[in-house]
């Protein structure tokens, strides 16, 4: 059996405040935009494989999966989504790799935070 190949897009999301069911909000806003831009054909082509895999409101990071052949259709609509502001961080071929990327990303941001904090501390002393 051959694998159904997917692409995993890691996004930085800015969710509206006091938001519930973030994954559904993300999914439907994306799908509505695809219908607007690529029409029914694009919607049908994307349907198989488009899932919101992971949303974290604390860290503002989400992962969506797309079928490989329809990647361009989804990637071209991402900048047009207005309800949630999105920023593509990484496109990976497996879920594991995108999680690894998130880990590295967090480490990087933490280190930057620490550096800034320590600089603040040194200024205080």
């Amino acid at each position: 059996m051959v694998r159904f190949k997917k692409r995993y897009i890691v996004l930085e999301v800015e969710l509206p405040p006091k938001c519930k069911k973030e994954d559904r909000l993300l999914y439907f806003s994306l799908k509505n935009k695809i219908r607007q831009l690529h029409g029914e054909y694009g919607e049908a082509a994307v349907e198989k494989g488009l899932r919101v895999k992971y949303v974290n409101e604390q860290t503002n990071i989400a992962i969506i999966s797309v079928a490989r052949y329809a990647f361009k259709l989804v990637a071209s609509t991402l900048p047009f989504v207005t309800k949630i502001s999105l920023k593509t961080l990484y496109v990976g071929a497996s879920f594991k790799h995108s999680l690894l990327f998130i880990k590295k990303h967090h480490e990087k941001t933490l280190r930057a935070l620490r550096v800034s904090e320590s600089s603040v501390d040194t200024q205080k002393t």
């Binding site: 059996m1 029914e40 054909y41 049908a44 349907e47 198989k48």
Partner: protein, 319 residues
């Protein structure tokens, strides 16, 4: 034995707003082979009570209707400027849910009247029955909602090896938004799993306005994940193959009789009349052949003997 010619449209609904006109329109658009389709839904046993079952058994023949034919006069053909000779086939589409349905066996003869037999499996069990060749199928038309069943690659491959064709109708695509989406998804699915091989494109038209020009259908197929050549094959050569395989299935295993005629100027002893004496002749011929082969063997033996002599001689010389 009939053969499909030209462009094919293997599904024009018999429950049509105007059947004759839609057939004529299809022919004038450039199609040459047309199948008129009748839909039958087999009642499932579990739902219907025992009383109903009896009633159904009584009206055995009524489940499968008589094939509908359209008589086209030469004046009609002239009016629509049709020059090529049309091939009009009959087709039945059976949708059923129960794999152990008795109606399949009972009405087998009635079903065999049709030139093409199509099945609509409505759940996983019937799908498996249709795909693995438990019953005679020519065309499988899947329900465009892919959530209905789990199609696996091995099932699709086994059905492809038996030259069963999958049908994608395009007229629901034109009229209905929801159906359009489902059909695109289905065809993409078929492309992913079996490279879109063994696919035929049909119209499933219920009125003459739903028919499209064959070269426009090729353009529609771009949406369905088929390349230009593949979509042309889907309304041309693939459909020809489907019709050919169907007619071969109807005819069954080919058997032939041999007629042996001996030219009058041959020898007296070789003249035979009828198949019995011909069999005798064949027997005598075979025995004659055997004798010949024996003679050949004898000759070979002789040669061998000669060779052994030589070896002996050479051995003598060596010694």
């Amino acid at each position: 034995m009939f053969r499909a010619k030209g462009f094919c449209d293997l599904n024009i609904e018999a429950e049509n707003s105007n059947l004759k006109e839609s057939v004529l329109k299809a022919l004038s658009l450039g199609y040459q082979t047309i199948a008129i389709n009748q839909n039958v839904t087999l009642p499932s046993l579990e739902k219907s009570g025992s009383k109903k079952r009896k009633g159904a058994e009584e009206g055995n023949g009524s489940i499968v209707p008589v094939p509908v034919t359209v008589n086209l006069s030469s004046a009609d053909l002239k009016r629509y400027k049709i020059t090529r000779e049309p091939v009009i086939l009959t087709r039945i589409t059976i949708s059923y849910t129960d794999p152990s349905s008795p109606y399949l066996l009972k009405s087998a003869d009635a079903i065999r009247q049709y030139d093409l037999i199509a099945f609509v499996p409505e759940n996983d069990a019937t799908l498996k029955q249709v795909m693995t060749g438990k019953i005679d199928v020519d065309i499988i038309s899947l329900i465009p909602n892919s959530a209905t069943y789990q199609l696996s690659r091995s099932l699709l491959k086994s059905s492809m090896e038996r030259d069963v064709y999958f049908e994608i109708p395009y007229s629901p695509c034109i009229t209905d938004v929801h159906a359009r989406k489902q059909i695109i998804m289905l065809s993409h699915f078929l492309h992913r799993t079996c490279k879109s091989s063994n696919i035929i494109i049909t119209s499933k038209a219920k009125c003459p306005t739903h028919l499209r020009y064959p070269y426009d259908v090729i353009n529609i197929c771009q949406f369905l994940g088929l390349s230009e050549i593949a979509s042309k094959a889907a309304i041309g050569t693939m459909a020809h193959n489907a019709v050919y395989c169907a007619s071969a299935r109807r005819r069954g295993v080919s058997k032939c009789a041999v007629q042996i005629t001996v030219s009058p100027d041959a020898d007296e002893c070789k003249k035979f009349v009828g198949i019995e004496s011909a069999e005798e002749y064949m027997k005598s011929y075979k025995t004659g052949k055997r004798k010949l082969s024996e003679k050949c063997k004898a000759k070979k033996k002789k040669i061998k003997v000669d060779k052994s002599n030589e070896v002996d001689d050479s051995g003598v010389i060596k010694f």
